[in-house]
């Protein structure tokens, strides 16, 4: 059995999870990654996607949808600071559509602002694509 580590998932409004786990799958901006105990210290930003927790023991919620934020992986602990997060079991098509609509609005706004650097529009487009991918991934 793999070594356990402390996992915390916090959003600005509340602490969603604080438990001992074996591994955490993090949807990083540059791709998914799995952190286990004694992972080298690192900080990564998140893209919208599903965060999975392994080996948390029975009964605990093991998958969360996050809209963005960042993760702090530091040896004995993993802390995920999500902008918004909710258990996958509570995610419905309506909620996802709401997020997607928000991302789309942000995208349109970024594109409409012609003087804005392209990176802003690109980032918004990526966010939108990630949102849609996450929806497809979760709800089939």
């Amino acid at each position: 059995m793999a070594a356990k580590m402390q996992f915390d998932l916090v959003s600005p409004e509340r602490r969603l999870a604080s438990l001992e786990v074996e591994a955490v799958q993090i949807p990083g901006t540059d791709g998914d990654m799995t952190a286990m105990a004694d992972h080298a210290p690192m900080i990564t930003t998140l893209r919208p996607g599903v965060l999975r927790v392994d080996g948390a023991g029975s009964g605990a919620e093991t998958a969360y949808f996050v809209t963005g934020g960042f993760a702090d992986v530091a040896g004995p602990s993993v802390t995920v600071l999500a902008e918004r997060a909710l258990p996958v079991s509570e995610v419905t098509a309506e909620i996802m559509d709401g997020f997607i609509a928000e991302a789309r609005a942000a995208h349109d706004k970024a594109r409409a602002a012609s003087d804005a650097p392209d990176t802003a529009a690109d980032a918004a487009a990526k966010l939108l694509a990630d949102m849609e991918a996450a929806k497809g991934h979760m709800l089939g």
Binding site: P12, E13, R14, M42, F70, D72, L81
Partner: protein
């Protein structure tokens, strides 16, 4: 001496005032508990955010490419003051103390020849500041429709502030709010949010932490983090303010209830005295009338 009927009316009116203030106190107490819980829940996020950001800020430091949100614009000519107050009154010195602090700061800045811009959150602060500083207003955020403060509200304010910063409208942003200490004590506080500041003195003693890998890169993470940090600071301030407001209202209403009680006591004594005087007078009249016969 006021007549009996007037006194009776006054007692009745003070009694109904006391009922209202008592009810308001109890409502504030219930809301205070909720506001405190919300502030409590938000703390882990804010603390972690602060820790990660100060670590990053140290790592990136004063390097050339440091983002403007961290390094500032290199000037401090134009100051934006974000003054957060309540939407409603009847909460003692809550609003005035924030406004007073903001006023002091404004006159200091003006004396130093800086330009001041004001963004208010909450109706009461706007009303009080408008009197002297109407020309400096750049915006107002209305939260009166908000039943329960959410991160989205803070994010909205933050994006407004950040948009102005990107447009070069100001160099330094400071938020004014009341830090919740206890029900009877709220401390008006000013915190500079742009450029970001960290308690380096406090951190310096502690271990500098492990060397982190940053993905995608230090700059990219910082770029993503700093706006979030501003939003988080604003959110924390809003929550502290909400708890302070309810605390201030609770103690103000407690005082009002007690004052009303004292007043009722005084008026009742006066009422009884004058009633007695009337009776004595009537008796004297009867007796002297009987003696005259």
């Amino acid at each position: 001496m006021p007549n009996l009927k007037d006194l009776k009316n006054r007692i009745a009116s003070v009694k109904s005032t006391r009922k209202i203030t008592k009810a308001m106190q109890m409502v504030a107490a219930a809301k205070l508990r909720r506001a405190q819980d919300a502030a409590e829940m938000a703390r882990p996020y804010a603390e972690k955010m602060e820790a990660v950001m100060s670590g990053l800020a140290r790592a990136v430091g004063d390097s050339e490419g440091a983002p403007r949100l961290l390094a500032g614009t290199g000037k401090s000519d134009v100051h934006l003051l974000v003054v957060m107050t309540a939407e409603r009154g009847l909460c003692g010195g809550f609003n005035s103390s924030i406004v007073k602090l903001a006023r002091t700061r404004i006159s200091e800045l003006l004396r130093d020849g800086k330009t001041v811009k004001i963004l208010t959150v909450g109706k009461k602060g706007r009303e009080q500041l408008k009197r002297d500083h109407a020309d400096k207003f750049v915006g107002h955020v209305d939260l009166s429709e908000v039943k329960r403060l959410g991160y989205a509200d803070a994010a909205g304010i933050a994006s407004d502030v950040l948009g102005r910063f990107d447009a070069g409208e100001f160099d330094v942003a400071t938020i004014f709010f009341n830090r919740f200490q206890s029900v009877i004590s709220q401390i008006p506080t000013a915190t500079q949010v742009i450029p970001a500041q960290f308690d380096t003195a406090e951190d310096a003693g502690e271990d500098t932490g492990p060397l982190y890998d940053y993905e995608p890169s230090e700059e990219a993470v910082l770029e993503d983090l700093l706006p979030r940090g501003v939003a988080t600071q604003i959110f924390t301030a809003l929550l502290e303010n909400a708890a302070s407001e309810q605390g201030a209202r609770m103690s103000a209403m407690d005082n009002a209830t007690r004052n009303a009680g004292d007043m009722i006591e005084r008026l009742t004594i006066e009422y009884n005295r004058s009633r007695q005087a009337v009776i004595t007078n009537e008796l004297i009249e009867i007796i002297s009338g009987a003696e005259a016969l």
